[in-house]
Symmetry: C2
Subunit: 347 residues, 2 copies
Amino acid sequence: KKILVIPGDGIGQEVTAWGQKVLSAIAENFKHEFTFEEGIMGHVAIEATGNPLPDETLEKARKSDAILFGAIGHAKYDNDPTLKVRPEQGLLKIRKELGLYANLRPIKLFDELLEASSIKPEILRGSDILFFRELTGDVYFGEKNRTADRNTASDLMIYHRYEVERIARKAYEAARTRRSKVCSVDKANVLEASRLWREVVQEVAKEYPDVETEHMFIDNAAMQLIKDPKRFDVVVTGNLFGDILTDEASQIAGSMGMLASASIGDSTGFYEPIHGSAHDIAGKGLANPLASILSAALMLDISFGLKTESQRVIKAVEATLRQGYRTMDIANKHTENALIMGTDAMG
Amino acid sequence: KKILVIPGDGIGQEVTAWGQKVLSAIAENFKHEFTFEEGIMGHVAIEATGNPLPDETLEKARKSDAILFGAIGHAKYDNDPTLKVRPEQGLLKIRKELGLYANLRPIKLFDELLEASSIKPEILRGSDILFFRELTGDVYFGEKNRTADRNTASDLMIYHRYEVERIARKAYEAARTRRSKVCSVDKANVLEASRLWREVVQEVAKEYPDVETEHMFIDNAAMQLIKDPKRFDVVVTGNLFGDILTDEASQIAGSMGMLASASIGDSTGFYEPIHGSAHDIAGKGLANPLASILSAALMLDISFGLKTESQRVIKAVEATLRQGYRTMDIANKHTENALIMGTDAMG
Ligand SMILES: CC(C)[C@H](C(=O)O)[C@@H](O)C(=O)O
Ligand SMILES: CC(C)[C@H](C(=O)O)[C@@H](O)C(=O)O
């Protein structure tokens, strides 16, 4: 298997190395052959080549079986919204070019982290949500405009029937292997794109009479997610709403530093932590590498069908947490005998 | 003062009566003269006239000094996204017609409800956030399109400089009377409309060097709001992001049933609970009337400048909670000697 590693920006550089080491260890232990290549993307790529996604990286991506990605973004661009070339363009472009239309974000709480969340343990216990975020459409990819006088700016929120259909099917298929519930999130009381979304999901739902369907407005969903996370099984939603809800849902898992995601579509799978580049702690060796390691576990499972190997990684993470090892983000005063450590020690 | 009462749909019918009764009681006790008229809007207006905002209601609205509104929406339309005439159009139209561009949503926890939230009390204690949600722009009001084959749908997310400027100024002015912090929320790493938003807020910020400014991406904000609500003082954001964040923030106040909002702009102020029509409990006498009563308190303060009267209402709500009176939504097992009651008893 050919794996492309793209550490990207900020803490991506620190954590991705650990996802890769875990893949190597699995290869060695289970006698698989994984070959690794490295690619650049984001701010680091802009600095090196002027392009947030150099052709060379895209070429390597197309030839690989799976990609392990770190994070993207840099304070320089966040502070200056007028800059034309921006790191995030690299990530959006690779998602589009590789046809990665389905972003899977499993939100599962490790028992050991029940106390690391700001939400009450009795609300959290037993939560297990699988998000399907549409990843190559919506206001992210619709036409952008800025008037010549720079005083008006717009982005087109747009969805096509086939885009909704294919992600909805993926969500319903997954629901069948879980608790058979799908919650589709939109803002159909206001947005035309959401009304199309709801119509199509209602149609797809008919093909899955064994799966229970619920439609929820995004504002209500943002509230229910915190109020009663256990009511959700599979959640399917658009690109923008999915971006917001999954970051919010990170509080269900104790910390964003624990969450992995898989982006799949036509062929190559793309695996990344849902945390960002975290400029504030970058380069300090404090970042939690577990989301990258769990992204590697998702790769083993989804792209390579190596379920035993994937479980081995997840069990190792569990065992590590059980022994009290914590990075800063998941440590709190409730952890007895917590052994607080940096990225490399945790890795 | 002329007050227009628009109960609207669902539980709006039940709770708004109580906001009005409180206004009457204040008038009587403090010797003010309030005259009330009633107007229809939403599903009830569609049923009666075919129009979600009949001209007659709009006329009355223009002639009134303030409006007390209930809620809008009905399951019929939620279940059928193809319906052309929809209740929410009435609410969006009145906001636009009255120029209600600033929606203020104060999120403050009553000490008595510390345990009613799904978030840990130690995280919540001391939270006090004032949201400024832009209310007459964004993807809510941009051009909507559906192709003839019905397979593609879009909404234009659009902002003009002056729209961002005026809401930003309101937020900074308010911050000066509070803890002097403004957090502006956008998605400037992806959206052009957000980049304009950020540029304009950065400019306005220069006029308020005494106020601390922070810019946050919406995904991160949705997470931070739950992780550490105390870090926020004034939050200013666009229409869509504001819709999502304020519903989410209701968990900070224990329940959505407690939250009031004020929409202000050119002249007439518009006051409404942030909860919706809640079809599931409508007509059962279970809804919490406190958000409507607190909306009346906001009206007294903001539209009429009657601070003492407004405080009297808030103190009455506090005293009621302190005595253990609870509607269903704010009762929980931690409330000792809770006296659980319906809408009218609580009112
Ligand atoms: C970095 C940014 C463009 C990206 C997104 O919004 O999709 C990130 O927030 C994510 O969720 O992967
Ligand atoms: C009912 C709906 C149109 C409305 C909105 O989205 O603005 C509501 O959710 C609100 O927050 O006032």
